[in-house]
């Protein structure tokens, strides 16, 4: 079985998620080749063939052109599956490739389950196994399939190694329906959660903006930083610079305390590398319980003040 891996490159840099593609291919037991629209200046450490197209020429975001480049590589390699990261790049590009090849797509694979692709449904409250039509994937010979993998679900086991054998791709024309204008930086107000040892985060379960100081008080009693989940930031209760998750910061503190956070997958992806996770939630079945080392089943607004008082003592 052969997988064509589609690397990611943004703002002049290779993205680390690219290495998760290789980890996924290894888990599949598949041989792999890689395609990257990037540059010679930042190549992935990869043992194998790398189809490289120049991002300077074909853009960092230009799905029309990138689709054609992927199709070129498909023609050359005839892979069994084409693998993307389920990211703003991957979920945008993958269906375009799938339509061009009339291939089935399986989105946001979180695990391989007994020879089938496992994905989330209903806010991760259910799991589905999905198979490309007629296929025996991922174990045997399968029909061509387009796959996107959840960021963080397939971690590389060791440091990536090797130097790729480069093969360059070119397109004859660069006409496109999309014109990329540029990037807008994230608003940063000086909170660098990525370096924090302790983070105490507020989620929707804190109830209202007026309750956020209660969570902040625990953060300060523990000598940590205040974090927040996306709904809390979107509601304007906490500034975006405190947001943990795929659209905020990815953190790996020694202690992460999730207060009233149900554990949407976008949030989990941003904090599950924490050494020790405490979740405080009224709902015993909340997805955060899946990854928490300790789940305190309690009302946040009752438990947190009591715990803060204990810490202060």
């Amino acid at each position: 079985m052969k997988a064509l891996l589609i690397g990611e490159y943004r703002q002049g840099k290779l993205l680390d998620t690219t290495y998760e593609l290789k980890a996924f291919a290894d888990r599949l037991g598949a041989d792999s080749v890689m395609l990257l629209v990037g540059s010679d200046a930042d190549l992935p450490k990869y043992e194998g063939r790398l189809y490289l197209a120049d991002a300077g020429k074909y853009g960092e975001y230009n799905p029309d052109l990138h689709k054609q480049l992927v199709l070129q590589a498909v023609e050359k390699e005839n892979p069994d599956c084409i693998v993307f990261v389920h990211s703003s790049y991957g979920w945008d590009l993958a269906p375009r490739v799938a339509v061009a090849l009339k291939a089935g797509q399986v989105s946001e694979i979180v695990a391989l389950n007994d020879g089938a692709y496992e994905v989330n449904a209903c806010n991760a409250k259910l799991r589905r196994t999905v198979t490309p039509k007629g296929g025996l994937a991922p174990s045997g010979a399968c029909p061509l399939a387009v796959l996107t993998i959840q960021a963080g679900a397939f971690s590389p086991s060791g440091e990536p190694q090797g130097a790729p054998q480069l093969e360059r791709l070119e397109l004859s024309g660069t006409a496109s329906a999309i014109e990329f204008v540029g990037y807008e930086a994230a608003e940063q107000k000086g909170v660098d959660l990525s370096k924090a040892e302790i983070i105490v985060s507020a989620g929707r379960g804190v109830g209202k903006k007026d309750n956020v100081p209660v969570i902040a008080a625990l953060a300060s009693a523990l000598g940590g930083e205040l974090g927040a989940s996306r709904p809390v930031v979107d509601a304007g209760w906490v500034d975006h610079s405190h947001q943990v998750g795929t659209t905020g910061q990815t953190v790996s503190p020694k202690l992460y305390v999730a207060c009233g956070i149900s554990g949407a997958i976008q949030h989990l992806a941003g904090m599950k590398k924490a050494d020790f996770i405490v979740a405080i939630n009224k709902d015993k079945d909340a997805p955060i319980g899946e990854i928490a080392d300790v789940l305190v089943v309690a009302d946040v607004m009752q438990f947190v003040p009591a715990f803060t008082a204990k810490c202060a003592r």
Binding site: G207, K208, K282, A298, D299, Q302
Partner: protein, 385 residues
């Protein structure tokens, strides 16, 4: 028979629920404890803009033409979050409906759109007096024709929204010689009219954000055409319109009762005593079963009364039955909810004590439970023998 809401009614319920949860509920504890009058009025304005002040009012006057069933489900959803807001909305709807029912074309065009659009924060219903509560026909406020004006004298009490109402529907005696109840007429009095004095605001047990005041008429002079409906026909109208108001208050009580039981039931699945969740004790389970059964019965009584009114059929008996049962059931539900939370249920750290205070008045205002029983019995007995 089909016991489902229509798609429109479901959407109105969803709109009411979403607005109540995201806008009204977060403010409700503050309104209860310290008050925030500007925020309260701002929410009334938003509700008006969404069309909640004239649910059963024609579009030409700025109403929503959504009907009485929609009014009932909307009241319940609003009251789940904030009873003070809900009672204001209920009274506003009743004021619009009474003007629509008996007002002149000019009166309808002038006042209803102002309430529906939120130009007036509220309308007020001025019937009750110190000596005329359950017996409104015993009122003593008078209106005397003097040239081109009516001159009002007397006072009213327990008037909802009085300080911020744009217009008052006022009942007064216009023929002292007529038999009891036959000499009363109905008037529209604008806020700010000289001689209309907003008196003392009551300090109430609950529903704190909704102002309840005394009204004093001190030679209050209003134009001759401020008379609404026929002369000396006002009491019959009051009685008829109170029926609709009872559906509103019953629905409001249902909302408070549901809020209390929803909170207490969830709490019972978290609270542990004797090593187990208190929801595992039969004593708790019976409270949950009893209260939800009664609240469901209340809901069906309310739907029935609302549907009858919406269909143009007699509904006075059904409205009284629904009001009686829903408000008493909601009181019991709040009692059970406090009991399920134990000592915590008696503290301001949990919302059930507020629900328990807010719900208490529902079996009193818009006709006490005792008066509802009088009406129900009278309606039943009048068809016998």
């Amino acid at each position: 028979m089909f016991l489902e809401l229509t798609e429109e009614q479901k959407l109105i319920q969803e709109t009411a629920r979403n607005f109540a949860r995201s806008v009204l509920e977060p403010l409700a504890p503050k309104l209860d404890r310290e008050g925030d009058h500007p925020a309260f009025l701002a929410n009334l304005k938003k509700l008006a803009e969404l069309g909640f002040m004239g649910l059963n009012v024609q579009g030409e006057y700025g109403g929503s033409e959504a009907g009485v069933v929609a009014f009932s489900v909307a009241m319940t959803e609003i009251a789940r979050a904030c009873a003070s807001t809900a009672v204001t909305v209920s009274v506003n709807n009743m004021v619009c409906e009474v003007i629509q029912a008996i007002g002149s074309q000019e009166q309808k065009e002038k006042y209803i759109p102002r309430i529906c659009s939120g130009a007036y924060a509220a309308g007020s219903f001025a019937l009750t007096e110190t000596g005329a509560g359950s017996d409104p026909a015993g009122m003593t406020t008078t209106a005397v024709l003097d040239g081109d004006s009516w001159v009002l004298n007397g006072s009213k009490i327990f008037i909802t929204s009085a300080p911020y109402a744009g217009v008052f529907v006022v009942w007064a005696v216009t023929d002292k010689e007529a038999p009891k109840g036959k000499g009363i007429s109905c008037f529209l009095v604008e806020q700010g009219t000289p001689g209309l004095v907003i008196g003392k605001q009551e300090e109430k047990t609950g529903q704190h954000a909704s102002a309840t005041n005394e009204l004093v008429f001190d030679n209050c002079r209003i134009p001759k055409d401020a008379l609404m409906g026929k002369l000396n026909d006002g009491f019959r109208i009051a009685v008829a319109e109170l029926g609709g108001g009872r559906i509103g208050i019953g629905s409001l009580a249902l909302g408070i009762g549901l809020a209390a039981m929803d909170y207490a039931t969830r709490y019972s699945t978290e609270r542990v005593q004797f090593g187990q969740k208190i929801s595992s004790f039969q004593a708790t389970q019976w409270k949950i079963a009893d209260s939800y059964t009664e609240l469901e019965a209340a809901r069906l009584l309310l739907m029935n009364a609302a549907f009858r009114k919406e269909s143009g059929r007699p509904f006075a008996k059904e409205a009284s039955m629904a009001k009686l049962f829903a408000t008493e059931a909601a009181n019991r539900a709040c009692y059970n909810a406090v009991q399920m939370l134990g000592g915590y249920g008696y503290t301001a750290d949990f919302p059930v004590e507020r629900y328990a205070r807010d719900v208490r008045i529902t079996s009193i205002y818009e006709g006490t439970s005792e008066i509802q029983r009088v009406i129900i019995a009278r309606e039943i007995l009048k068809n016998i023998g």
